[in-house]
Amino acid sequence: MRHASSTRLIWTLLGLTFAAIAVFLWSLSAGAVHIPIATIINTLFDLDGPKQSFIINKSRLPRSLLAFCTGGSLALSGAIVQALLRNPLASPKIIGINSGAALGVLLTFILAPTLNLNWLPVVAACGGILAAAAIFTVAEIATVSPARLALVGIAIGMTCDAAVDFILATSELYEVSAPLVWMTGSLWNRGWAHLNAVWPLLVGLSAITLLYSYRLDLIRLGTAQATSLGLNVRRERLVLLALATLLAALSVSVVGVLGFVGLMAPHIARQMVGGTHRGLLPVAMLVGAILVVVADAAGRALFAPLEVSAGILTAMFGAPFFVFLLLSNTSEARG
């Protein structure tokens, strides 16, 4: 049995890795402008012949790499949050990251309208981390139970959402158009600067999280059992929450509010390889990365020259998937 699931995991990982590479290469050819494969290869490897330096090297390549990193990170963050809250409906949103980041961005725009928009990612990351920190603090004061943490998270998230709605309703829509694009989860105008700002952190945090994954399996057994197995549940939970927060907040800061990736990817992964985190986490990461790369590339190719935000496309695929999850509740038992 053990052997069978290991084989299944290895084949799944191999298959997903090939799929990720294929999707990534396809994404370089997808966009508003048709570029022949030969030109793409010329540009990537700086060979002689026709090239499209800006479109390939400065637009599509950094965008797809960024989509890959943030998609993987959001999926990983979602898998951790679902395990910690022992709730299949949990996602990074439930620990307040999306709402906090959105509120941070809009508040800055209202309070410091002259601030250079390059600061937007920093502000977003701070907003997300602050909201998550507030939720953990409130949840820690009372007895920590996964259900309570989820409820506090939803409450604080809703407070932030209300503030966001208030700002949107009272300020001019025209004036906040740049943050509005960000709030739909768009990789428009993302480039190497954004990628370089987050990839070392995201890769580092992901590596640490993967090393931590066996503790997640213990925590999922429940606080009492995990403690009896010698785990300092309170400390481990905080470390893991901090990792999940940073992964999601950094991702949201550069690509905006990408709906459903953090919720969907872990569920798809669970259907593929079951609920053991050693296998679940890397599979979820690959699924998340593939989803966002596809959503971003499809978003710029589908209705070109119009750009459809990756967040809109992931949410559009996400909603039916959510219904599917509810309908096929029986298979959830595996997770």
């Binding site: 309208p113 829509l173 158009s177 710029r300 070109a304 020259p305």
Partner: protein, 303 residues
């Protein structure tokens, strides 16, 4: 490749200290070295089409929201219809812009400041405050564009002619607008947005001698240009003349007809509510656009 040429171009200019370019253009995002004799221009707001059309220059790319009829016949008569759509004004496709290999990009401050660095990687970019600026700003921007595209003299001549035209409208309208307040607003199916005195249309109405009954809201950290307005708030503003541009039929304003608050409006009672083409008034700004607006107002005052 094009960009490399510019890099070398810029380097040569710096080394030789002989200005090879048309000049340094100062704009909202800084100063940009714009090359001589620009041929391929991409514009990301409608008012920049107005500027190019006024000196007979056709852009290669327009952020026309992917709806070609948003570029009205008054412009296409001059610029033709050969342009490539680069998508929406909010998020224009950077790929398509790059594929056009432009030598000048004209962008809007509110919408595109965030993308200034990227746009500058594609081509020399100047940023002007089209969306947030008033009428007088808009004419000043025409002069900047004239200089950037190397047609300073022609543009200046057109601006002088435009000012004369507008002066004629002003002297025609001022006696009629004496002591009257007028307010323009855009309405769609869900709401009404009044254009404040600091807006483009607000400043035009002011120039023609109309008062404004829109009071600035206290405690705001910035001056609102486009103000979402309910029926109650409209009854507070209550101007003598109401001019609506409707993007939807029926619009929010249509749904207010019959309501006591609406029927009690001074403009409604005295039958001084007028409908104009929302697109021409609200999305278009510039010299040709202002002359069309002025002609509309003359028509309104005749009624």
């Amino acid at each position: 490749m094009k960009r490399n040429i510019f890099a070398v171009f810029g380097l040569c200019a710096a080394l030789a200290t002989t200005p090879l370019s048309a000049g340094e253009i100062t704009h909202e995002a800084g100063t940009t070295d714009v090359p001589d004799d620009v041929q391929r221009i991409v514009v990301l707001e409608f008012s920049f089409i107005d500027a190019l059309a006024s000196v007979g220059v056709a852009p290669v790319g327009i952020a026309d929201d992917n709806k070609r009829d948003r570029v009205i016949p008054a412009y296409t008569d001059i610029i033709g219809d050969e342009w490539i759509s680069v998508g929406t004004r909010k998020t224009p496709s950077l790929e398509v812009i790059a594929s056009l290999a432009p030598d000048l990009i004209i962008a809007d401050k509110t919408r595109h400041s965030a993308a200034y660095d990227t746009l500058s990687e594609i081509a020399p970019t100047i940023v002007l405050d089209s969306l947030g600026g008033d009428y007088h700003d808009s004419v000043a921007q025409m002069a900047v564009i004239g200089e950037a595209i190397g047609k300073k003299d022609e543009m200046d001549a057109r601006i002088t002619q435009h000012k004369a035209t507008m002066d004629a409208y002003v002297s025609q309208l001022k006696p009629l607008s004496e002591g009257l307040s007028a307010q323009f607003g855009v309405t769609n199916a869900t709401g009404l947005w009044l254009h404040a005195p600091v807006s483009y249309n607000g400043s035009l109405l002011e120039m023609f001698g109309f008062d404004s009954t829109m009071k600035p809201a206290d405690g705001d950290v910035y001056e609102k240009v486009y103000v979402p307005t309910t029926l109650e708030q409209l009854s507070e503003v209550n101007p003598d003349i109401l001019i609506f541009g409707a993007y939807a039929n029926p619009s929010q304003v249509d749904s207010w007809k019959g309501e006591t608050l609406f029927e009690d409006l001074t403009a409604v009672k005295s039958e001084k509510v007028f409908n104009v083409t929302a697109h021409n008034w609200s999305r278009l700004r510039g010299m040709l656009a202002a002359e069309m607006t002025a002609a509309d107002i003359v028509e309104i005052m005749k009624q």
